[in-house]
């Protein structure tokens, strides 16, 4: 999802009996539903995993501003422009609270950003796809933010207090984002033949990446099991994907869109939609850096950071001068 393939450092989940006394006490607190706070003792692997997960999530919010920001200057009406600006601004705000939540674990925002720029930290694979038409902005809100909500609502109950509280705020805004995306698609679906074609074309491109974004199937996911034991992941990738699929297929049909999966079928017995095979090679390829936009996204972030260095230095220098003057005045 926004945090994909988070490495927990675990080869398999250890049973309570196998854990050291401290780790066992920690696991028992988690099992009892106690929230872990910044100053509480925690295993180093739990702390490191959370830093990876929360910082990946924060980076996804910040990098995610780029594909949608790409259409702010070209939004088709003033109202759409205002809504999109507000939406992208919210994403930046989410990045800020998440960096703050990660900072409670003893890592600075600058360090996290340096890791992103050095290619050491990841962000969601989904933002390595391009926004080629206005309908892509609709698809990101509807499909991608829709998937994000499904993943993030449970995280409001995760074991780490600062992360859980940040997610409460994030989730409230994400549901507005999803509605704005769907509303863009609805206007296109009711529009001219060209607008309908624009909607279908974008949907064709976003469907599979959005379906894959919850991460690989449960059977291939060692780290998921450890994260679930720690309650920093509450549902498995396949469960989250199923929820998204069941929610999204009827919405696509309502919009008059054709789902680009010939194997998509309703299963009367289970009461769920079933999808055809996902191209996991593509998923891993994009994560490893060969998606259509990986290089551009990272380059854009690094450029913004480097171009802004003199501004940040000036702000620090000015604050120091001002503090020095205050000291002289006080003396």
């Amino acid at each position: 999802m926004y945090a994909q393939l988070v490495d927990t450092g675990a080869k398999r989940v250890q049973s309570l009996e196998e854990l050291s006394p401290e780790d066992r006490a920690f696991q028992e607190r988690i099992d009892a539903g106690v929230k872990i706070e910044a100053k509480d003792p925690m295993p180093e692997s739990y702390r490191r995993t959370l830093v990876r997960q929360i910082s990946q999530h924060a980076h996804s919010e910040i990098v995610g501003m780029l594909p949608e920001g790409n259409w702010i200057t070209r939004a088709p009406t003033l109202k759409r422009k205002a809504i999109l600006l507000a939406k992208v601004q919210d994403e930046g705000g989410h990045g800020l609270y998440l960096y703050s939540a990660a900072e409670t674990l003893g890592v600075s925002r600058d360090q996290m950003i340096a890791d992103l720029h050095a290619g050491k930290a990841k962000y969601s694979s989904i933002f390595n796809y391009p926004t080629l038409s206005w309908a892509d902005v609709g698809c990101i809100g509807w499909l991608v933010d829709g998937a994000a909500i499904i993943n993030q609502i449970p995280l409001c109950r995760c074991s780490y207090g600062p992360y859980a509280r940040a997610m409460v705020r994030v989730c409230k805004e994400e549901s507005f984002h999803q509605r704005q995306g769907y509303d863009i698609m609805l206007a296109l679906a009711r529009g001219t033949a060209e607008q309908k074609a624009m909607a279908q074309e974008a949907f064709n491109r976003w469907w599979w990446p959005a379906l894959a974004m919850q991460g690989p199937p449960d059977k291939d996911s060692v780290h998921s099991a450890q994260s679930m034991a720690w309650k920093i992941k509450l549902f498995s990738n396949d469960e989250l994907r199923q929820k998204w699929l069941d929610q999204t297929v009827p919405q696509a049909h309502y919009l008059g869109l054709t789902v680009p999966d010939p194997d998509l079928a309703w299963n009367d017995e289970t009461g769920h939609w079933e999808h055809g095979p996902i191209d996991w090679d593509e998923f891993y390829r994009v994560i490893k850096g060969d998606g259509p936009c990986n290089r551009d996204r990272l380059r854009a972030r690094v450029k913004a950071w480097e171009d802004g260095a003199w501004v940040r230095e000036a702000a620090v220098a000015h604050a120091e001068k001002r503090a020095a003057r205050e000291r002289v005045k006080a003396a």
Partner: protein, 252 residues
Amino acid sequence: MGRQDALFEYLLRLGDSALVLAQRLGEWTGKAPIIEEDLATANTALDLIGQARMWLAYAGEVEGKGRDEDRLAFLRDASDFRNVLLVEQPNGNFADTIARQFYFDAWNVRALDALRGSTDARVADIAGKSLKEARYHFERSADWVVRLGDGTDESRAKMQAAIDDLWTYTGELFAADEVDRILAESGVGFDPGSLHAPWMDAVKQVLDEATLVAPAAGYMQRGGKQGVHTENLGYLLAEMQFLQRAYPGGQW
């Protein structure tokens, strides 16, 4: 020129200036020096779009030809835009963006304050709603002029260059033409020249604090308010208007 025509022109000047500046600020999304400034820039853009929408919606009603805010924003060519030249200047570096904003905000606060007393109730209402936002914009842009001016040697040089470069576009804010005179006489608008001294005082005070030198009086470019723009506006509109032009008649 009749009073209705003059009012239409006047509302376009207010609306287009807010819109074009918002459009420029939107170009910064995801590219600001620090996330907090990305958010603040987007916030300023949002406020300005809100102001533009109110002015342009009213302009469309005054014109009475069925043009709404979007038809005015997306289906006029450059020569029909009435924004001041200052706001269409490119973003440049962060200091250039701040200087443009600072000059405009220092004017906008005073213009909106004057328009709060307009004899046209709708104008007074829009100005009243927008003034609080404009005051905050001015606080922020003035604050950055000071931080960059009185920051490092590099930031001072960049801030001074930006202040000097854009100076030539400030005179237009205070130059009156027939439209301004008609509206000032009827009490709907104000005499632009009357804002010059208070604007200059405010600007100089901030430049002083920023250890920057106020530019010497020089030649002032003008023409935006009458529809004669710099080359920059055409590109800005080509980008902004693309969808409406490529898919005529669509509902979005």
